[in-house]
């Protein structure tokens, strides 16, 4: 039979000492740090998803899908959905590792984490961080564009007169040239190039003629009807308000919005 004295003797014999309090504190800080980092990542994933979805072709969805539901399904960036799902699982696991995390229901952890991440996503979106991350990923990882940007693929169907590219030259009042994502140069024939600007990315809907020129029925800005970024109470300084007003004006200005050219 083990006695109290046996245990004390064993503790002394083995030179067992209590684990210092700072180690527990460090562990708890580490777990909360890992959780916070995860929430930030989830917020960024939401911001990118929001950017990709909001800047999609809602203005001409009927060109790509028979109805809005089908178009929504082809627009969703599934890769980011998987990322958010993975990060959410990591967050549940991490939260459970906190001292009192086991007491909270899974649904509460998911709900509060998503709510917090959405707030972070809103803040990131207000500063266009979602767009910045997405653009950097697109520029640095070619595979990323292929899996996350189905929109680029959608706009590379010249046989059906659907093409997107950067305006490189406007040689005549009714012709401009674009370079598509594969580096091909296309002649676009319009009745007027009044609103077409070199260096801008445009979407063309039309038909291809026998010479390989595209006769445009519509020329649209790449941005389309992008939703304005959310505004927060902490963005109330005079300069920020002016900057946001200016940015929204640019985003919704006639030269970048909706149809630049329509036959």
């Amino acid at each position: 039979m083990t006695t109290s004295q046996d245990i004390i003797k064993e503790i002394k014999k083995e030179h067992v000492t209590p684990t210092p309090a700072w180690k527990y504190t460090m562990k708890e800080v580490g777990v909360w740090g890992a959780w916070s980092l995860g929430v930030l990542c989830l917020g960024a994933a939401f911001a990118i998803t929001f950017f990709i979805v909001s800047s999609s072709d809602w203005d001409v969805y009927e060109v790509f899908a028979p109805n809005l539901v089908t178009f929504t399904l082809i627009t969703i960036p599934y890769v980011w959905l998987f990322v958010t799902g993975g990060v959410a699982i990591y967050l549940i696991f991490t939260f459970r590792q906190t001292k009192r995390g086991y007491r909270v229901k899974t649904v509460t952890i998911i709900g509060s984490t998503i709510a917090l991440s959405l707030v972070i996503a809103g803040v990131l979106q207000a500063y266009d961080i979602g767009e910045v991350i997405d653009t950097r990923l697109s520029n640095q990882i070619p595979q990323y564009t292929r899996i996350a940007h189905t929109r680029d693929m959608r706009w590379h169907n010249p046989e059906h007169g659907i093409i997107a590219g950067i305006v490189t030259d406007i040689p005549e009042p009714t012709i401009f040239m674009i370079t598509d994502k594969e580096g091909n140069v296309w002649h676009i024939i319009v009745s007027s190039t009044q609103y077409i600007k070199a260096g801008k990315k445009v979407r063309i809907i039309g038909s291809i003629d026998e010479q390989g020129n595209i006769i445009a029925q519509k020329a649209l800005s790449w941005q389309g009807n992008k939703l304005p970024a959310p505004q927060f109470f902490f963005m109330h300084s005079e300069n920020e308000r002016k900057n946001n007003a200016l940015r929204n004006t640019i985003m919704t200005g006639p030269e970048q919005r909706e149809i630049i050219y329509s036959q």
Binding site: T2, S4, I8, P18, R100
Partner: protein, 193 residues
Amino acid sequence: MSQDEIKNKSDYEIMTLVQTDVNAFTEIVSRYKDKLKRYIHRLTNVSHEEQEDLLQEVFIKVYKNSYNIDPSLSFSAWMYRITYNHVISSHRKKCARPSVISWDDKETLLNKLKADEDVHLAIEKKEQQAMIYNAIDKLNIKYKDIILLKYIEEKNYEEIADILKIPPGTVATRLHRAKKSLKKYIEKHEHHI
């Protein structure tokens, strides 16, 4: 500090003393030794010597964790948690934990289940009693852990949640499912008696 003075202190106060004076730990050992030994016996059917070893290892772990006590938990729940985790992890290293609810415990359990409104056990024949024991044996291990803590160790939902580190709602769900599983087994096998 004299042993008599220590005896009048709460578990938490003693554990604070233990951080600087290992001898104060004797009081904690005497307070929990029997309870934890019984719990270890209920969790596992290893030999008596192995149970003694486990008990000693548990107390050493408690001592090592003396700076990690959560005052928002009941001290007893904290001790049971360390015991449960230690027994489970030591069994995981060797093999799967065998199912053990001793005959004495089964009798206690049966009496408590009879009083439980959800189960409504009407035990008239000896065969029925044997069948219920059989049903208890066949329960999933996670249900058995809950039943053991609720009916044998007489812990409340909050304490069980703290011991097993699961949400209190999950404790209630598992207990409900355990009772349902028992009832289903009994109904299925009743006509054989």
